[in-house]
């Protein structure tokens, strides 16, 4: 097993346990938002985004909690496999790609620093854009992830710690998701509706914003991994 690097004072280790906390937090947030996401999807999709996402994250939590600690990259890769298998529809490969890309591009083995995580998220965004041929403004998950990653990079560049940077990134991602409402969908099934897709917030952008919430939670409360297992 790799020897964990000593995290610098005041910063948080981005390691296997971080991924566990992150995925647990995402599972919680998606469960809370399940009805909301399904309602959004009922307007411009198949009304299954909420249930697909909670099914996927429940599976990811179970798989990851059973997986040995092989480092942060391996943990993300494990989650990617769970999500591709369990989510289904278009969201399975898209969310799976986010995590699989983190697993592939982060330094293997030991923990990584905040800049490496941001670089991994940038790679994940690029991979999602290649898979879906989507750009900002197409009314997709890219509309939340792109501003989220950009704000994370900007704040880390200004010397903010990870939790503070993710706090800003979360707000940017949610603003991005909200800003999809007036847009006409240009990708995915919602694009079938053409002009009728206007006036509805994109479900994929909405769930993607919660990814930043969960990252922020994982970066802010290093004790919750064990606590979350208590009844």
């Amino acid at each position: 097993m790799a020897i964990p690097a000593e995290p610098s004072k005041g910063s948080i280790a981005i390691d296997h346990a971080f991924v566990v906390r992150f995925v647990q937090a995402l599972d919680e947030r998606l469960s809370d938002a399940e009805t909301f996401l399904t309602e959004l999807d009922a307007a411009i999709g198949d009304a299954d985004h909420g249930t697909n996402m909670t099914r996927g994250l429940h599976a990811a939590v179970i798989d990851l909690e059973a997986a040995p600690d092989r480092g942060v990259a391996a943990a993300f890769a494990e989650v990617g496999r769970s999500l591709i298998r369990a989510i289904g529809g278009a969201s399975g490969p898209l969310y799976g790609t986010v995590f699989a890309t983190l697993g592939r591009t982060l330094p293997q083995g030991g923990p990584v620093d905040a800049r490496a995580l941001a670089a991994g998220l940038r790679e994940a965004l690029d991979a999602v854009q290649r898979l879906g041929a989507a750009v900002v403004g197409d009314k997709t998950m890219v509309d939340a992830i792109a501003p989220g990653v950009a704000e994370l990079e900007r704040r880390l560049g200004h010397g903010h710690d990870l939790a503070t940077a993710l706090d800003g990134a979360t707000r940017a991602a949610h603003e991005g998701a909200t800003a999809t409402t007036p847009l006409r969908a240009r990708k995915g099934r919602a694009s079938y509706l053409g002009v009728r897709s206007e006036g509805h917030q994109d479900p994929g952008a909405s769930s993607s914003a919660l990814v930043f919430d969960a990252l922020h939670a994982a970066a802010s409360s290093p004790g919750t991994s064990a606590d979350a297992l208590l009844p």
Binding site: A42, I44, G45, D46, A47, D48, G88, G89, A90, G92, P93, L94, R130, L131, G132, A133, R186, K187, G188, R189, S191, Y192, L193, G194, V195, R196, E198, G199
Partner: protein
């Protein structure tokens, strides 16, 4: 063009997009005086094409549903296709769609839902980019000049990372479709969704529509039975339309 008729149609189109608009919003969108718009919209309300809710906002009225239904009911291809599409969905377990080519897009005339009881978007009346769907490819493969309809929507849009947007590559696909009369699409319009489709031919040998199924990409390659069911449905509808040959006349080069 009659100006007031044109404006009335613009109002209907704006309401299609925004769904609910106040008189002020409607006027701003059309760039017209409130009094002008009020006169037209009041007429549309009186004739049932537009409705006004309790908050005073305007929305499309029940009258447009009646008009749309008449369009669907009077389309002979659709009339003939509906029972075949429903049977195709039941037999294969997949959603079945029937479409016609309108320029570079496929208009979905009928959508038989996947028979698994799940909630699904109703796709009747939607426009699909022809180059991104097996329905469109089946139609374009037997079109006398496939580049003409495609030129109307050029440059061809990528709907996913796997959408084919190069004309030369599409034409190679069309040639392959003409070998068996079956068109395939894999993750090309929506990720995780793939299709098998076949052309519908009328009594003059012209392909007038297409029928196909939508299956999860994880279930590829499509089973022989699925492909046969699509082909049989296409031949069955074509026969009812008076066709004596199938899959139709190939374009002359």
């Amino acid at each position: 063009m009659i100006q007031s008729v044109d404006r009335a149609i613009s109002i209907l189109m704006e309401l299609q997009g925004a769904r609910r608009l106040s008189l002020t919003e409607l006027s701003a969108r059309l760039g017209l005086a409130i009094s002008t718009v009020h006169g037209i919209v009041a007429t549309l309300v009186a004739r049932g094409l537009v409705e006004q809710d309790s908050a005073g906002h305007y929305a499309l009225g029940a009258g447009v549903l009646r008009l749309g239904n008449v369009y669907l009911d009077s389309n002979e291809l659709r009339l003939r296709s509906v029972p075949w599409a429903e049977t195709l969905a039941e037999r294969t377990g997949y959603a079945a769609r029937v479409g016609v080519l309108m320029g570079g897009t496929v208009l979905v005339l009928h959508h038989a839902l996947r028979p698994d009881g799940s909630r699904q978007m109703r796709e009747i009346g939607v426009d699909l980019p022809a180059h991104g769907t097996a329905l469109g490819k089946a139609l374009l493969a037997y079109h006398p000049a496939p580049r003409t309809p495609l030129s109307e929507v050029a440059p061809l849009r990528r709907l996913t990372g796997r959408t084919v947007v190069e004309l030369a590559e599409l034409e190679r696909e069309f040639a392959a479709i003409r070998v068996e009369g079956i068109a395939h699409a894999e993750d090309e319009i929506v990720l995780s969704e793939s299709e098998v489709a076949a052309p519908i031919v009328d009594d003059t040998g012209v392909s007038v529509g297409a029928i196909g199924v939508v299956l999860p990409t994880t279930e590829l390659p499509a089973e022989r039975a699925t492909i046969d069911a699509v082909r049989n449905a296409a031949i069955g509808i074509s026969r009812e339309l008076g066709a004596t040959t199938w899959p139709g006349v190939a374009p002359s080069d």
